[in-house]
């Protein structure tokens, strides 16, 4: 195991260490809201961060498991490829932006644009998400156990949204869809991954109406 205290060690040193041959377990103390902590990992290392992190924690992560005991700043897990990020607190804007894979668990709330442009990641939010979440989301799953702000799923492609609470005004081309047995099964697996226990029938599914997939004068008001 390796320990880093970011009050006395620069983030650069930590990332440099993590890019070489890190120990199986790494503990980071006193992150103090610093930016770009544990970015660009490419190893199945287990990282625990004790405290709040700034922008882009775990950005472009591959393989690593990163646990944050605190809140996360904007763009946590941005463009993640694989691995797991688990945040005990809440996440700021653009959590999981354009993430291609892996699992992002937010145990508090997520701010606006959670899952924006997501490309295959699974995001599970125990609380609520802000406005414009899953904006232009391409593939992957976004599970929201609380409520969603306005314009959920605006300009959505093939990503799937599961939500338990209320939804504000829906975004352009986002519609409620049937919860098939297959979707219930998928939702159950996602909740299980995050260790969350909810009544599955409380969730509804949202997806793309696919009306904006081709330029069409009859949909001009949506553009």
């Amino acid at each position: 195991m390796s320990n880093f205290d970011l009050d006395t060690t620069a983030v650069r040193k930590l990332n440099q260490y993590l890019h070489q041959t890190p120990a199986d377990k790494v503990v980071v103390d006193k992150p103090g809201g610093r930016h770009s902590i544990a970015v660009g990992l490419d190893a199945s290392v287990d990282i625990t961060i004790n405290g709040h992190v700034g922008y882009y924690c775990g950005g472009m992560n591959k393989l690593a498991t990163i646990r944050i005991h605190g809140n996360a700043g904007p763009g946590v897990a941005e463009n993640m490829m694989s691995g797991t990020m688990d945040i005990s607190g809440s996440a700021s804007q653009y959590a999981g932006a354009s993430a291609h894979g892996g699992t992002l668990i937010i145990r508090g709330d997520a701010s606006s644009r959670c899952g924006i442009s997501m490309k295959g990641v699974d995001i599970i939010v125990a609380g609520s998400v802000g406005h414009m979440s899953a904006f232009m989301a391409q593939t992957g799953n976004l599970v929201i156990c609380g409520d969603a702000g306005d314009h959920l799923g605006d300009s959505l492609y093939e990503a799937v949204i599961y939500i338990r609470g209320s939804v504000g005004e829906l975004g352009a081309d986002c519609i409620e869809k049937e919860m098939t047995a297959e979707h219930v099964q998928k939702l159950a697996a996602l909740l299980h991954t995050a260790g969350l226990d909810h009544v599955l029938t409380d969730f509804r599914r949202y997806g793309s109406a696919r009306k904006l997939y081709h330029f069409d004068i009859d949909h001009a008001d949506e553009y």
Binding site: G40, Y56, E78, A97, S117, Y157, Y213, H214, F215, I217
Partner: protein, 437 residues
């Protein structure tokens, strides 16, 4: 019998305006097309070199050395880019261009010792293998973006905007979204794809500074980081790019090309390349960063004279996109029937958006793509780049310069009042710079 001399076309409603109104009435949606602005704008043709005379000695052509090399990314990156020539190949996506075209660009750039650039669709193995020096774009869409490609790139380019459409995102119409293109972009096949116009995880210069820091952390501070902007509020944008930590700033004027954008956007947004160079250089000088942060200029660069004039005005390099495509055969007078099928003729084609490129450059259709063999394309582009370099050296030697980067504003005058005002150069035969004093 109609007397044609008595027919008077309206200056307000000439034939092409009438045709556009009729088209809009038929279709009810804006015209989407490729290529760059077609309107006439003040440009490098409006400038002249003064050449050497009594007060300056010219260099002997072919005998005295005139160097062309340039180093990009000297500010923060531990591995700056060394190029043999100050002409780079601009970002064009695999998707908008076929794989053969991308490979041609890479092969030619490598032969000439310069760089090529990915585009809004990620990096293909063909272009990585064919390009000795490859710049990897980080775009708002983030299509295909991944840390492995980030690390195997030689430099990164954060794209804020593009000259053809500053403030707009990319488009790729369904006919070009083949299985491979869709797979690289994580999109359904055959849809009309609209790329985002804003980055998903940052807004504004304060965020960009942190974003650039993250990219440096991921790549261990090795790669030069460029910031590309479409020419609009150039003074502010260049200043903010430098403040955000860019190693290189790329400024793309409104003549810059696109694969598919609304015609109204191409023709009516952004400023020409000529004033953009002046504003960018002034902004860098104001910050005492001229030559510290390198400046690449693009948007309608067509020959060695354009490139030499951009350098004389203070750019460190130029970048070509449309011109490189033309070298590969774009608008070449061949397969005329295929041009006609898409409603155009050689010389007028801007139909990159259709995917039915008659010369096999901007297409994903295998039969059309086969018309451009990568080795042939590379040879054409290499020859064209060589010509540009020889032209630049000819002009630089005539001005007495042993390196093309030694060209200076003093070597230039303007032929029109507009160009003089925009470039801040004296009108030829006068010492008048409109707008100063």
């Amino acid at each position: 019998m109609i007397d044609k001399r008595a027919l008077k076309e309206s200056a307000t409603f000439p034939a092409n305006v009438l045709a556009e109104i009729h088209r809009a009435a038929d279709q009810g949606i804006y015209d989407i097309r490729g290529f760059g602005a077609k309107r006439e704008v003040p440009c490098f043709d409006d400038l002249l070199f003064l050449g050497a005379s009594m007060s300056r000695y010219p260099l002997e052509g072919y005998r005295e050395k005139c160097a062309t090399n340039v180093t990009l990314g000297t500010r923060f990156a531990s591995k700056p880019i060394e190029l043999d020539i100050p002409i780079t190949i601009a970002g064009m996506s695999f998707g908008s261009l076929g794989a053969n075209a991308k490979e041609s660009l890479g092969l030619a750039a490598t032969m000439m010792g310069t760089s090529t650039t990915t585009g809004d669709g990620g990096m293909t193995s063909e272009e990585r293998e064919s390009s000795k020096t490859l710049v990897y774009q980080v775009l708002p869409s983030r299509y295909g973006l991944n840390p492995d490609d980030l690390r195997r790139a030689d430099a990164l380019e954060v794209v804020v905007g593009q000259g053809a459409k500053p403030g707009g995102g990319g488009m790729l119409l369904g006919q070009k979204i083949t299985e491979r293109v869709a797979g690289m972009r994580d999109l359904p096949e055959g849809i009309d794809q609209r790329s985002a116009c804003r980055h998903p995880d940052w807004t504004g210069p304060d965020d960009l500074k942190i974003k650039i820091q993250e990219l440096r952390e991921i790549t261990d501070y090795e790669k030069p980081i460029y910031v590309k902007i479409g020419a609009t509020r150039v003074t502010y944008d260049v200043t903010l790019a430098v403040k955000s930590g860019a190693d290189v700033v790329v400024v793309d004027g409104m003549q810059g090309g696109t694969a598919a954008t609304q015609d109204v956007f191409i023709e009516h947004v952004g400023i020409p390349t000529l004033p953009a160079v002046r504003l960018a250089v002034d902004a860098l000088k104001e910050l005492d960063m001229h030559r510290e942060v390198q400046l690449i200029i693009s948007g309608g660069i067509r020959n060695g004279a354009d490139a030499a004039k951009a350098l004389a005005m203070g750019a460190d390099a130029v970048s070509i996109g449309s011109a490189a495509m033309v070298a590969l055969g774009c608008n070449r007078n061949a397969w005329v029937e295929d041009y006609e099928k898409i409603g155009t003729l050689p010389g007028y084609c801007h139909h990159c958006h259709t995917g039915a490129c008659p010369v096999g450059v901007a297409t994903q259709t295998p039969e059309l793509e086969a018309r451009l063999r990568p080795q042939q394309g590379a040879l054409w582009l290499r020859n064209y780049l060589s010509t540009m370099v020889l032209e630049m050296q000819t002009l630089a030697r005539a001005c007495g310069k042993s390196h093309v980067l030694n060209l200076e504003p003093e070597d230039l005058v303007a032929m029109t009042i507009e160009a003089a005002a925009m470039a801040r150069l004296p009108l030829a035969g006068t010492n008048w710079i409109p707008g100063s004093n």
